[in-house]
């Protein structure tokens, strides 16, 4: 079942168009930085963007910081929202369910498919940004990459931490994928499911800026998204990274559970 879903994901033009669109903004940012040679003012802008003018090899991390707050979760919401509702809209869910596969396995296959999409999207953003960084932005200093805390990171440390950052970004999207899947089981409209998920994201972002919401901030889905920056401090600041992973796992358990609770006996009319 998982293999079928993965083949479907890979052969859909929409998957690759979405990934292409995800790369558009970081590419535009790289071109603008290269042409103007103007970085963001200290303390402003996405993480690492102030450093890429002197070290273009950091642009993959800056690109992740650019797409992570909005574009990547929107893409995940669209793909996840389509998981079940899209099958309903195209009148194929009935045929999927008559196969000797439990509904739970179908849900798991759909979730795995969304996660694979996230992996593909993050890898594509990183690779494209790396090429752009090397071609358009500053060369890496001969003294090595400078960590956020000012120390030198060896190539091995940089590779290891970058790998951890990509894993973290993928994990950060688990909650979005689970929510989108849940909404997808609630409605027959893929767009409606995606919009519902985006609504949750917007609500989370708004609440993060509200002092009155202090008590619930640790539970908000977007609270720890940019904590991957902490992997490049010296020493690594694990607290927010671990909290971020636990938060996403919590959302995954609850909303994937809700999707299962709703979908297990859902009436399928089309």
């Amino acid at each position: 079942m998982i293999r079928v879903e993965l083949v479907k994901l890979m052969t859909r033009p929409r998957t690759w168009i979405t990934i292409l669109a995800l790369n558009a903004l970081p590419t535009l940012v790289a071109v603008l930085l290269a042409v103007t040679d103007l970085g963001p003012r200290p303390g402003t802008g996405p993480p690492f963007l102030s450093a890429v003018l002197t070290d273009g090899t950091l642009f993959p991390l800056a690109a992740l910081g650019i797409v992570l707050p909005l574009f990547l979760p929107v893409a995940v919401a669209v793909v996840g929202g389509d998981a079940i509702a899209g099958e309903v809209q195209s009148d194929t869910l009935r045929y999927l369910l008559v196969r000797p596969v439990s509904r739970l396995r179908l849900l798991v296959a759909k979730l795995v498919s969304v996660v694979v999409f996230v992996v593909l999207a993050v890898l594509a953003v990183a690779v494209v940004a790396y090429v752009e960084g090397r071609l358009l932005l500053g060369d890496a200093p001969a003294t090595g990459v400078v960590s956020v805390s000012g120390s030198t990171l060896t190539q091995a440390e940089m590779t290891q931490r970058t790998g951890l950052a990509f894993v973290y970004v993928v994990l950060a999207m688990l909650g979005v994928a689970a929510i989108a899947l849940f909404f997808s089981t609630l409605t027959d409209s893929a767009v409606g499911a995606a919009l519902g998920t985006i609504g949750v994201l917007v609500a989370s972002t708004v609440l993060l800026g509200l002092d009155a919401a202090d008590a619930i901030k640790p539970y908000l889905m977007t609270r720890h998204w940019l904590a991957f920056v902490d992997l490049f401090r010296d020493p690594i600041r694990w607290g927010d990274v671990v909290d971020g992973v636990l938060t996403q796992l919590g959302y995954l358990v609850v909303f994937a559970g809700a999707a299962w609770a709703n979908f297990a006996t859902k009436d399928v009319n089309r």
């Binding site: 200290p42 303390g43 956020v148 805390s149 000012g150 120390s151 030198t152 358990v253």
Partner: protein
């Protein structure tokens, strides 16, 4: 399993995920019955303890100024920060202000202060000065508590119920300044019951209202002394290094101005050893404190322009006065030279202090001082 049972399972899991951490935080704390004076004594002694952890600070004052004119004052009183702290003692610590876009690290090592700013790819090394504007290490609970409690009298102190802070049982202490010149209404703090290490400090202004103007709280703490390697910066050879004599204008004034301020201003006694504070006068005790800093014309001019941009400034031409939160500021150019006075005292006290400083200041040999 039926639909209702499935939803019940999901609901139970969701409630457990939210309730367990909240329940652990809400565990009741038994009070030790320690007196306020004894607790204050332990708090004052706690800056010698070694520890590491994270601190969240929240300033709740609408600051009508921008830029770095007042060093970290604007940021501390008007913004929130997250600090990573490695504390070996009052002269050996590292405090990192972490942001999503980078970090600024301040390391105090004996007589030297090192500051690293990621976004500028720059490190500055300057001699430590007791005369300087507030910075991140000053709002770490242990440092702030010591500053506020120094000189407190027993009658101004009382106990608050114990609470759990950063997972530790913490004893509460309240300081209500008796001095009518103070703009600080009260200070509430909670210190670790076992060690006396302050974990949370809340500063309230004199106005009625329930919100503190400044809160600094330890969110996680490890009570083992960090190794010396943690309180140093292992900086890459690729970063720009600048060496200077001062970190800010206040320290610069102390270094260069050939003045000795009077021993009293606005009825408040001069604080500390005059040898340490040089040209800058620090007056008062506990949270009732003001500083008088002589300024060079070029610095005063920039400050005057900054103050005049604030809508609430009172400008007589020779004096510009401004208040925000518990802080009062007065730039005085009414006589020879310029003085900026600022402190947690009433505006009237600051005006009186300006007159007293001008009347009592002595010219001295800066080298032989």
């Amino acid at each position: 399993m039926g639909p209702a049972a499935r939803w019940l399972v999901v609901l139970a899991v969701a409630v457990a995920l939210v309730a367990v951490p909240q329940g652990l935080r809400a565990l009741p704390v038994e009070d030790t019955g320690e007196s306020a004076a004894d607790l204050a004594a332990r708090v004052l002694d706690a800056d010698r303890l070694g520890w590491s952890g994270e601190v969240a600070t929240q300033g709740d004052v609408e600051v009508p100024l921008s830029g770095d004119t007042f060093g970290g004052v604007v940021r501390i009183l008007g913004e929130s920060s997250r600090l990573r702290v490695w504390w070996r003692g009052p002269t050996q610590h590292r405090v990192d202000r972490v942001r999503e876009s980078g970090e600024t690290d301040v390391v105090r090592s004996g007589g030297t202060t090192v500051r690293w700013r990621y976004e500028g790819n720059r490190v500055s090394v300057v001699p430590y000065s007791r005369i300087r504007l507030p910075d991140d290490p000053d709002v770490v609970p242990v440092a702030l508590a010591q500053r506020l409690l120094t000189g407190a009298r027993a009658a101004e102190l009382s106990r608050l119920p114990s609470e759990r802070v950063a997972g530790r049982a913490a004893a509460g202490l309240r300081l209500v300044p008796a001095d009518p010149r103070s703009t600080v209404g009260r200070v509430d703090l909670w210190a670790d019951q076992e060690t006396g290490l302050p974990l949370r400090v809340e500063v309230y202004d004199g106005a009625a209202g329930s919100r503190p103007v400044l809160t600094t709280e330890t969110t996680s703490v490890d009570l083992t002394r960090p190794p010396r390697s943690r309180t140093t910066l292992d900086l890459s050879s690729g970063v720009d290094v600048s060496r200077g004599v001062t970190l800010d204008d206040a320290a610069g004034a102390d270094a260069y101005a050939p003045f000795a301020p009077p021993s009293e201003a606005a009825g408040l006694p001069r604080r500390g050893d005059p040898e340490d504070f040089g040209a800058v006068g620090v007056y008062g005790r506990g949270p009732t404190v003001l500083v008088a800093v002589p300024l060079r014309d070029v610095v005063a001019k920039g400050l005057r322009e900054q103050l005049r941009k604030a809508g609430t400034v009172r400008d007589t031409g020779e004096r510009q006065a401004l208040e925000f939160g518990p802080l009062s500021v007065l730039l005085d150019s009414s006589g020879r030279g310029n003085y900026v006075l600022l402190g947690t005292v009433t505006p009237q006290t600051l005006v009186q202090a300006a007159d007293d400083v001008r009347a009592g200041v002595r010219l001295v040999d800066p080298v032989g001082r």
